[in-house]
């Protein structure tokens, strides 16, 4: 069975759209680069902007937590909905392994932040967790984005112990990105260097996907009109 290529798995592409915009090219350009593997997607990144003054280690860790939660929920939901079970065997192993890793990342970041940890957002992945194609495409973009984010923010962390530990996350996320690209039949290491992105630019890309949604208001104060 031929591995799907990036252009074949494009259905929803919300994150890819945002990532392409982040990388300064249109969606078609992003897909072409990812497919051909001849030009490193990360190599075309602009220079990272400086992290705004006043961004603390807690801010960085909380953004990391939000992003890891996004990934963990994405993989978990695809498993729960049966999307992963319907994939071919090697893709199942890939998706389940990445899901387990992302959940472990969430757990440790929550422990490190303790009471300073932000609450869990409400996620809306649309159809991205419901079909093999949309899931795969989003996963590839998500893992690339994670590497770019960590490369950009880890050097900004003031606490050297945290920096040391976050490198452990960065290297694993880089393996995820390579594995994801390999799954879709693209070059796992398309460039000689990974260029960093700032927290703000990655935050903007995530916002544009609208994967983080406003939680529905399911509680109210109206007098009940039930049958009694």
């Amino acid at each position: 069975m031929t591995a799907p290529r990036m252009q074949d798995v494009d259905r929803d592409g919300a994150l890819t759209e945002a990532v392409a915009e982040l990388y300064g090219c249109d969606r078609a350009g992003f897909i072409r680069k990812a497919t051909l593997g001849s030009v490193g997607m990360l190599a075309i990144l602009a220079a990272p902007s400086a992290v705004a003054a006043g961004v603390t280690d807690t801010d960085i860790l909380n953004f990391g937590l939000r992003f890891e939660r996004l990934q963990a929920t994405f993989y978990t939901q695809a498993e729960e909905l049966g999307t992963v079970a319907a994939m071919r065997a090697d893709k199942q192993d890939w998706a389940r392994t990445l899901g387990a890793h992302e959940r472990a990342h969430v757990k440790i970041l929550k422990q490190v932040l303790g009471r300073r940890a932000e609450g869990r957002p409400f996620f809306d992945f649309g159809e991205a967790t419901q079909s093999d194609a949309a899931f795969t495409r989003t996963a590839v973009a998500m893992e690339d984005l994670t590497v770019a984010l960590l490369t950009g923010v880890v050097p900004k962390v003031q606490n050297r112990g945290l920096t040391s530990a976050l490198f452990g996350l960065l290297t694993v996320e880089a393996r995820h990105a390579a594995w994801a690209r390999s799954i879709v039949g693209t070059n796992p290491a398309p460039s000689a260097f990974d260029e960093p992105r700032s927290l703000q630019s990655v935050s903007g890309a995530v916002d544009r996907t609208r994967f983080i949604a406003r939680p529905p208001r399911t509680a109210g104060r109206t007098r009940p009109g039930f049958s009694g």
């Binding site: 939901q77 992945f125 649309g126 452990g168 399911t218 104060r221 009940p224 009109g225 049958s227």
Partner: protein, 271 residues
């Protein structure tokens, strides 16, 4: 010239060895240390290096997802949408799905299954809060918001007049209940918690009420669509009993305990 190059190579190797050792130690891989014993000159070089930075945390072992047997998914209704008898735009129209409940909270539906169509939209089969109770239908995925997940289930036993809340299949809360009388029976079936109402002024409903997807086929003339609620009471002395118009009444302490453990979207089985 050659000996100079050899010395440089040896020095480089020594630094590399020391770096590997420092990194391995920093990452807590104590078992690697004996295998990475550097040559004597490398030890001298390592003495001059700053101590490795101890990582602030070490991620635990990743765990694969446990069983999904006790999980249920729900989704908010984002926009008015037709509900069809089959996953097809031409299929019979069952009802229009509203984004709001009669209590003006966001309407939600339980997600039962989804159907992908390579050429068209994704369809989702959902449980409907309409008569006849237990109705299901197909709606386009784009009409729904993000999926919520619950691992709780409420079971109401009409014979023993007891409610039991389960989490991951394990009972975590029991409570006596008041249910519908013979004239206005509480409908049996499978439903879900649709809303949570608080801070209203109505002593007869107690401090808190859950809206459900169940509707009473018998109680006519009631406002807001004859929905069955789960709520507190100002007459705890009547519990347990068959005393309501279809709603499930609980002691106020029990309904508040239920609030702590039962999220919106929880499936309800009434038997």
């Amino acid at each position: 010239m050659r000996s100079g190059a050899t010395r440089w190579t040896s020095r480089r190797n020594a630094i590399a060895g020391a770096t590997v050792l420092a990194t391995a130690t920093a990452l807590g891989f104590a078992a690697m240390a004996p295998q990475a014993t550097p040559p004597p000159e490398a030890t001298d070089l390592a003495d001059g290096l700053p101590p490795p930075v101890a990582p602030a945390f070490r991620p635990g072992a990743p765990r694969r997802l446990a069983s999904t047997r006790h999980l249920s998914h729900w989704a908010p209704v984002e926009r008015s949408a037709p509900v069809r008898a089959a996953p097809d735009s031409g299929a019979r129209l069952l009802t229009m799905l509203s984004p709001w409940t009669p209590e003006r909270t966001r309407n939600i539906v339980t997600v039962l299954e989804h159907r992908l169509d390579a050429a068209g939209p994704t369809w989702v089969r959902v449980a409907l809060a309409m008569l006849p109770n237990g109705s299901t239908g197909w709606v386009r995925r784009s009409a729904l918001g993000g999926y919520g997940t619950v691992e709780t289930q409420l079971v109401v036993d009409l014979r023993s007049l007891r409610a039991t809340l389960y989490r991951r299949g394990q009972p975590i809360l029991h409570a006596p209940v008041g249910v519908g009388s013979e004239r206005w029976p509480t409908p049996r079936g499978t439903y879900y918690v649709r809303s949570k109402l608080t801070r209203y002024r109505s002593p007869s409903y107690g401090p808190l009420a859950f809206g459900t997807s169940a509707r009473s086929p018998a109680a006519t003339g009631w406002p807001a669509g004859r929905f069955v609620g789960i709520h507190g009471t100002d007459r705890p002395d009547l519990l347990p009993g068959r005393i309501s118009h279809g709603c499930i009444r609980m002691r106020n302490a029990d309904i508040l305990a239920l609030e702590r453990h039962m999220p919106v979207g929880t499936p309800i089985t009434i038997h």
